[in-house]
Amino acid sequence: MSMQEGDTAMEQTRPMNLVGGIAATAARARERRAGSVQLTGPKIVAEHFNFYYGAFQALADISLEFPALQVVGIIGPSGCGKSTLLRAINRMHDRTPGARGEGRLTLDGQEIYAAATDPIQIRRRVGMVFQRPNPFASSIYANVAYGLRLNGVRSRQQLDERVEHALRRAALWDEVKDRLHRDSGTALSGGQQQRLCIARAIATEPEVLLMDEPCSALDPIATLKIEELIDQLRAQFTIVMVTHNMQQAARVSDMTVFMLMDEKTRAGRVIEVAATAQLFTSPGDARTEAYISGRFG
């Protein structure tokens, strides 16, 4: 990404009070991560991608590149298609009757919606964390081991190691190590449940992590912990995160996508894609500016 210098220049020429705190947040976050963000090629690419629920077009002409090992935030008002786009990436719509994707959407060059593509194989490479923590009603250990067992890991020792590793990386190990087999995953607090779900998703070492408003059901302290966690996970995973919270997008994402519902067709469109600091300091589109400065949405 070569927008860094232009970015800074824009910051100086633009009045800071336009988007105020968010721009500052994004700038601080960028400085904090300066040097740690790697320049990488695209992991997921959408080219003129459309998505339909039956006759209704939910996404129109989406063209995007999600760079590998970076955090991409998707923001936009309710109904703009953020979640639809996110869930399209690992074919979570397959159970919805009439849902279908058209155009190109690729993971490492592989067509996600090609007839020959096995959605199960895609989902094993693309993990997902949902809006509401959804642990299984089994033990904490069984929750994390679920994906491993599904993939055929049977050795007790190997399971133990990988469950511990995943829980450590999800910053949950110390809180649950004494009750792995005794407590149900549903017995944990909301924030712990969400970290358990993250541990469950990363235990199988996927390449991509999709997060659908992962903090919207959590309190501020639990939210902070998840954000710190995302900051560490970016080293190994390509992360795509939908969020309602612009401050959060400014804090954690390297790149931000702003989406909006088309007023006539009601289909979701991408309005602007930019490095996070740039999008929040000098949005290129008037609608982006209106949204991030709180004039609608």
């Binding site: 009757p97 949902f130 959804n134 642990p135 299984f136 089994s138 599904l150 005794r182 407590d183």
Partner: protein
């Protein structure tokens, strides 16, 4: 407007309506519960009063005049001990008494009249307990896989003509009178195999259980939040794997409830058993031959002229109620989660 000072103008009316509605619900609840408590209480008191250890350890004994524990007493119907059955008699094993409803102690011409209240009977219903457990549990084993898998199909793979047709058929079947199932089992199994048998009874009971298990399983599986299915799906689990590792375990308590309802219904069925298992006065575990069952015993005892056997009918009912309760508790304990915080 003075919304903040004092009650709104229709407050009194609302309060009266609220009280009336509450009273109505209480009355309706009482109407439903009181007869239930009375029936159960009467069975427990009257049936329980006639219980003894031998009631659980012995099988049928023909009623006798006077003290049945006195070994010198003579069976009033038979007179003297039998000289042995005719070896050529193909129906030697068949209990004619059970077939015709006649009991050996019925007054016969040779013995003149007897005082019915003086007739007492010992013995117990061990054969009935064993028979009911066998017939019902085998029925449950037959019905469980069919009902569970059909319920899974309806809940997880719906939106096709087969699911719609299955749903309609199970609804009709669950409303069908049990005697109809009994007649079907009689014609298709008893007549074809030329023998009444415990297995025919199990099949009839299984047919009665399947719709209950299917529909409760479907309803309960539908209550499992979609987010839990999505979690497994997002990890790359196929639908069948998700169903068996996540959805069914989550819904287990509810499924067990449905299975228990089916079991209780099956254990208490009488009509189909009359046409299939027939009954047996001795302890038998042969599922290919007539076998005893508690509801059949209770039914036959109530037809008896002897007060002592009427008492047996009560005690048998008591045992049936307790048996179902016992299995209910046992299954709940067996399927209870051992995790904290569920």
């Amino acid at each position: 407007m003075s919304l903040r000072t004092g009650a709104p103008p229709n407050y009194a009316r609302r309060r009266i309506i609220d009280r009336i509605m509450r009273a109505l619900t209480v009355v309706a609840t009482a109407t439903a519960v009181v007869p239930l408590v009375l029936i159960l209480g009467y069975v427990l008191v009257v049936g329980g009063s006639g219980l003894s250890v031998s009631f659980f350890t012995e099988t049928y004994q023909a009623p006798l005049m006077g003290d049945f524990t006195d070994p010198t007493l003579v069976d009033p119907a038979v007179g003297a001990p039998e000289g042995g059955a005719n070896p050529d008699d193909p129906y030697a094993d068949l209990d004619l008494g059970a077939l015709t409803g006649a009991t050996p102690a019925e007054p016969t011409d040779g013995h003149g009249s007897i005082d019915l209240s003086q007739v007492s009977s010992g013995g117990g219903v061990l054969h009935g307990i064993v028979g009911t457990l066998l017939v019902t549990l085998v029925g449950l084993l037959l019905a469980l896989p069919v009902g569970l898998l059909a319920g899974v199909f309806l809940a997880e793979y719906d939106n096709n003509w087969l699911a719609t047709a299955t749903r309609f058929c199970t609804d009709v079947l669950s409303g069908a009178p049990s005697i109809v199932i009994g007649v079907v089992a009689y014609i298709l199994i008893v007549q074809q195999t030329r023998t009444f048998s415990g297995l025919a009874g199990s099949i009839a009971i299984a047919l009665l259980m399947v719709p209950t298990i299917t529909r409760t399983t479907e309803e309960i599986l539908r209550l499992v939040p979609q987010t839990v299915r999505e979690a497994a799906m997002g990890l790359g689990a196929p639908t069948w794997y998700t169903t068996f590792t996540v959805v069914i375990p989550t819904a287990l308590t509810g499924i067990v409830t449905g299975v228990l309802l089916a079991f209780a219904r099956g254990a208490g069925e009488t009509a189909p058993l009359i046409l299939t298992v027939l009954g047996n006065n001795t302890l038998s575990v042969n599922m290919l031959a007539p076998i005893a069952a508690l509801p059949l015993l209770a039914y036959r005892y109530t037809e008896s002229p002897f007060p002592t056997e009427i008492q047996l009918a009560w005690s048998t009912s008591f045992v049936l109620v307790v048996l179902v309760l016992f299995i209910n508790i046992a299954l709940r304990l067996a399927t209870r989660s051992r995790l904290r915080g569920r």
